[in-house]
Symmetry: C2
Subunit: 303 residues, 2 copies
C-alpha cells in the first residue's frame, strides 16, 4: 500500500517504520530530522526488537508525495490549522485518512475538509520518544484501537486493521470510536494537564495525596461527561482507580504535554481540553476541576 | 500601652512602628533583622510619610519581654504551631491578643490556648514588604477591620481601635469578624493561590482571559461558601467583579504567597485554603475550583 506519514514525531516515525518494514511504500513528511534521516536512515529502538531502515522516502512537502492510499496523520494537534495545505495533495477519490492524534475534534475537522467517508481514527496507547536525530525509541505498549468516523465504513477500517496487524502492530477495531477517544481522555486530561502544569513526571504527581486525589476526581468528572455523550455503552467509574493504579508502573514517565512544555512547543490544549470541555458542557456536565486545570495551563503558557 | 509584636515581618514592623511612634511602649520579637535593627533602628518608607525610629526594643525571645497589655500577632500562619511557646510569656490576666494574620482558624487556635475572651482579630488591607535589613516599605492602603472573637468583648475592641486610630492607622470595628475574614478570603484565595502556583504577579493572571475568568469563578464559589456560614448579613456576589476590577490597579503586585514561594518559605495553605475548604464543606459547599487549586499548590511545593 502507498502510505504517507504526516507528522513525523515519535508516533509517526515508529508506526511508519513498521509499515515500511512489512513491505509497504511509505513516504514521510519530515521536518526536524530531514537531513539526518535522508543521510543515514532511521534507527528504531523498540521493546519488540531494534531495527534500522537504511532508506527512507523523506520529503519536505506533501506536494512531492502526491496521492496515496492511506494518509497517516500523526501531527501535534496544535498544527491542525495546516490540515488543508498538508493533506490535500495526498488525497484522491479512494484515499483513506487515519488520524492517530490525541484528543477530540481531529476526525471532525478532517471530515469537513475531505469528506467523512474517508476518515478513520486510531487511539494509540504507546510510550515513544525521539532520541538523537534519526532515532526513535519505543518504550512501552503500542496498541491501537481503530474505528471509522462513519459506522458504515466497516470495510475500510478492516483494511487498515489488516495493514497494521501485518506490520506487527497490536490493533483492534472498536465499535465506538467516540467511546475509545473519551476513554483515553480519562488518562490524558488529568495526567497530561497536571504533569505539564506542575512540570513533574507521573510518579511525582501520584506521590502526593492532594494531586493523586485530584487526578482521581478529574477522572470521575470525565467519565461522567463521557457517559453523557450517547456512547454505545457506559464507561465504568472503576476505570478511574484502575488507571491511577496502573499509572504507578510508569515511574518518572513524562506525558507528551509535559515534554511539549519543557521543549517550548505549544500544548495540545484544544484537542485535550477545550473540545472535551465544550462537548461535556453541551451535555450539561461542567467538569469544574478540568476547567480549572485548563485555565491554569492556559495562563501558565501565556505568562 | 505595653505592646508586644510577635512576628516582625513587614506587617508587624509597620504597625508596630506606628504604635511606637504614637507613644506606646512597643517590644518586638525579632529574628532575621535583629542585628541590623538593634544597631541602626528601623526605617519606614510609607506613602503616608517616611520616618525613622532610632531605638527599637528588640528581643530574641518573648521570655525577655514578659507580660504586656496587648500582643499583636503578625506571624506567618505556618508558624502557628509555636503560639504556645511564643505567646505564653506575654499573657497575664488582662492581656488582649490581636491577630492580624491571614485566613481562618487563627483566633480559634489562640482561644483554645489563652481563652476566647482575650482574642481579637484584625483583617489588614495593606501592601507592604521588607526591603534591606532594618527597612519596611508600605506601598498601598493600610486599613484594618477589627472585631472581637466573642461579641461581648465590645469594650476591648474599642480600646484597641482607639489605640490604632491614635497611631494614625485607618481602623474600624466590624460587627461580624467572621464575615470580614471571609471577605478577605474572596481576594486572598484566588489571587494568592493562582499567583503562587503560576509564579506570576497580579497583572499577569488578570491579563489572560482563562485565569481571569477562573479567579471570578473562584470568588463566586467563596462567596457562596461564606454566605452558608451564618454571617450577620450576606456578602453580595457583586463583590467578585468589583475586586477583580480594582485589582487591575495593583499592576505587577506579588501577593504574599507568591513572595513566600519565591523566597522558599512554606505557604500559608492551611489558613488560606485548608480551613476555609473545611468550613465550606461542613456547610455543604464543596468549592471545587478552590479545591483543585489547593491540590495543585500542595503538589507544586511538595514536588
Amino acid at each position: 500500500m502507498r502510505i504517507a506519514v504526516v507528522g513525523s514525531g515519535a508516533l509517526g516515525l515508529y508506526y511508519g517504520s513498521l509499515l515500511q518494514r512489512s513491505g509497504n511504500e511509505v513516504h514521510f513528511l519530515l521536518r526536524r530530522d530531514y537531513e539526518s534521516i535522508m543521510a543515514r536512515g532511521l534507527s528504531v529502538y523498540s521493546l519488540n526488537g531494534d531495527f534500522h531502515l537504511a532508506h527512507i522516502n523523506g520529503y519536505r512537502s506533501t506536494h512531492e508525495i502526491r496521492e496515496v492510499d492511506l494518509v497517516l496523520i500523526c501531527l501535534k494537534t496544535f498544527a491542525n490549522e495546516h490540515f488543508q495545505a498538508l493533506v490535500t495533495p495526498l488525497v484522491g477519490k479512494n484515499t483513506r485518512i487515519l488520524t492517530l492524534q490525541n484528543g477530540l475534534g481531529n476526525e471532525e475537522l478532517l471530515a469537513e475538509l475531505f469528506g467523512p467517508e474517508k476518515i478513520f481514527g486510531g487511539v494509540a496507547f504507546i510510550c515513544a520518544y525521539r532520541g538523537n536525530p534519526g532515532t526513535v525509541h519505543h518504550v512501552s505498549e503500542g496498541k491501537i484501537n481503530l474505528g471509522p468516523l462513519q459506522s458504515e465504513q466497516n470495510l475500510g477500517v478492516e483494511i487498515i486493521k489488516d495493514l497494521f496487524t501485518g506490520a506487527g502492530i497490536n490493533c483492534r477495531v472498536v465499535s465506538d470510536l467516540k467511546k475509545a477517544r473519551w476513554e483515553k481522555l480519562v488518562w490524558n486530561i488529568p495526567f497530561n494537564g497536571t504533569c505539564a502544569l506542575l512540570q513533574q513526571p507521573v510518579n511525582a504527581v501520584l506521590a502526593h495525596k492532594g494531586s493523586r486525589d485530584l487526578i482521581s476526581a478529574m477522572m470521575s468528572e470525565i467519565i461522567t461527561a463521557a457517559n453523557a455523550q450517547q456512547l454505545t455503552e457506559k464507561i465504568p467509574f472503576s476505570l478511574a482507580e484502575n488507571m491511577v493504579v496502573s499509572s504507578e508502573k510508569l515511574g518518572s514517565y513524562q506525558p507528551s504535554m509535559l515534554i511539549d512544555r519543557i521543549e517550548g512547543r505549544p500544548l495540545e490544549l484544544d484537542a485535550i481540553f477545550r473540545v472535551p470541555l465544550t462537548e461535556a458542557y453541551k451535555h450539561g456536565i461542567p467538569m469544574l476541576r478540568v476547567q480549572t486545570l485548563f485555565a491554569l495551563l492556559q495562563a501558565a503558557v501565556a505568562g
